[in-house]
């Protein structure tokens, strides 16, 4: 297998993986040495830049990820924006609601419920300080457990999480068209 073919395959792998992909995983798939993988990826990163490709490869320690370019931000925003209100997107709102009701919860569990990747919306929520890391699950990889913040409570005017309306209340909402919440 020549180097161009290897590069081509690696590009496909990064594309399908989406998240940062460990060099050791690439090593395993292609059955070549790990330092070779790093060398080839360094070359690829240069190729991508030299050819002014619309994507770039980002390295983080031993992982590589395919992403868009920062300088294209405005164009991409233009593509995405008309389809969404300026409000918190539905994706983020759904993610927030799951974390609020099911906390502490891992990203994987949120994704299982929503059926799509949620790393971006979780990041957004963390950035907005509505959600934070509240611990680690005692499991392989020790995944982060997420929970809501005090800011979250404050925003919704809740004193504690127990005050979150329950799903049964929502059924009531369906019937009466109005939700009767008991605050305080």
């Amino acid at each position: 297998m020549d180097k161009r073919e290897i590069k081509s395959i690696i590009e496909g792998l990064l594309f399908i993986w989406g998240e940062p992909l460990l060099a050791s995983d690439i090593t395993e798939v292609l059955d070549i040495k790990e330092n070779e993988v790093h060398l080839i990826l360094k070359e690829m990163m240069n190729d991508f830049n030299y050819n002014r490709r619309g994507l770039q490869i980002k390295q983080t320690n031993n992982s590589y990820q395919l992403t868009t370019r920062a300088e294209h931000f405005d164009w991409i925003s233009k593509l995405c924006t008309p389809r969404n209100d300026k409000k918190l997107s539905n994706a983020a709102l759904e993610t927030l609601s799951i974390i609020a009701y099911k906390q502490p919860i891992t990203r994987m569990e949120v994704e299982a419920l929503r059926g799509v990747k949620c790393d971006r919306s979780i990041n957004t929520l963390v950035q907005k300080e509505l959600v934070k890391e509240v611990g680690r699950l005692d499991k392989t990889g020790r995944p982060i457990l997420y929970g809501t913040t005090d800011d979250f409570l404050q925003y919704f005017g809740l004193t504690s999480l127990e005050q979150l309306p329950q799903l049964e209340d929502f059924t009531k909402l369906d019937e009466d068209g109005q939700l009767e919440l008991e605050f305080d």
Partner: protein, 255 residues
Amino acid sequence: MEYKVVLETFEGPLDLLYHLIEKNKVDIYDIPIAKITDQYVEYIETMQELDMNVTSEFLVMVATLLEIKSKMLLPATKNDDENTDEDGVDPREELVLRLLEYKKYKTAAEELKNKEMVQSKVFNKPQEEIEHFIDGDQPKLEGIDLKDLLKAFSEVMNRQKKYDEEFDFHEIERDEITIEDAIDELLHIISKVKKIKFHDLFKIEYSKVKIVVTFLSVLELIRLNTITIHQERNFDDIVLIYKDSKGDKTEELNG
């Protein structure tokens, strides 16, 4: 309970006819109608013996073939090739035209199948989460209240429920749930747990077809001596026990 042998299946009477012509390596423009008719009838009879679903279309084709066969036996049709008057039309012509037209699409379907295979090896990736491109410096949670939050959660839960339902729905709608699949599934479960209550095999959400096929697979595995069934007392739940061949041997050695 009878067991159905899976015979090579044909997509219809034309498909079967076409298969026989190919198998006999005869010229489609000169079909030995007597021979082909005999084989066709023989196949249909086998299907009936095996209690396979012989649809009326197959029987109509038998009638058509027999009619052509009898017409060809009449010496009157043995005319000159150049003769194109009504009596001179080859009784096979209409059938051959239908077969040729059918062959056209059958061939195209095979090409589509190849394309399907190639395309099934091509993947795209899901859409990126895009809020990070639109949120910018938006104020926190503008215009969202508790009701929205609860509604969002309820929607996720509903969708989850619907997804489960839809999933089952598709299972039912699939072209075939084969006994082979059900046997594989049952073997997979029982080889792990070794013992399972009959009742536990049938998950509530199973469709009727799935229940029937699962039941058939139990019978088949009993017949193949892969599992045995056991019932302590009347009305007790029946227990299926996996007969692990290796396990049996060890027991024999130990015993």
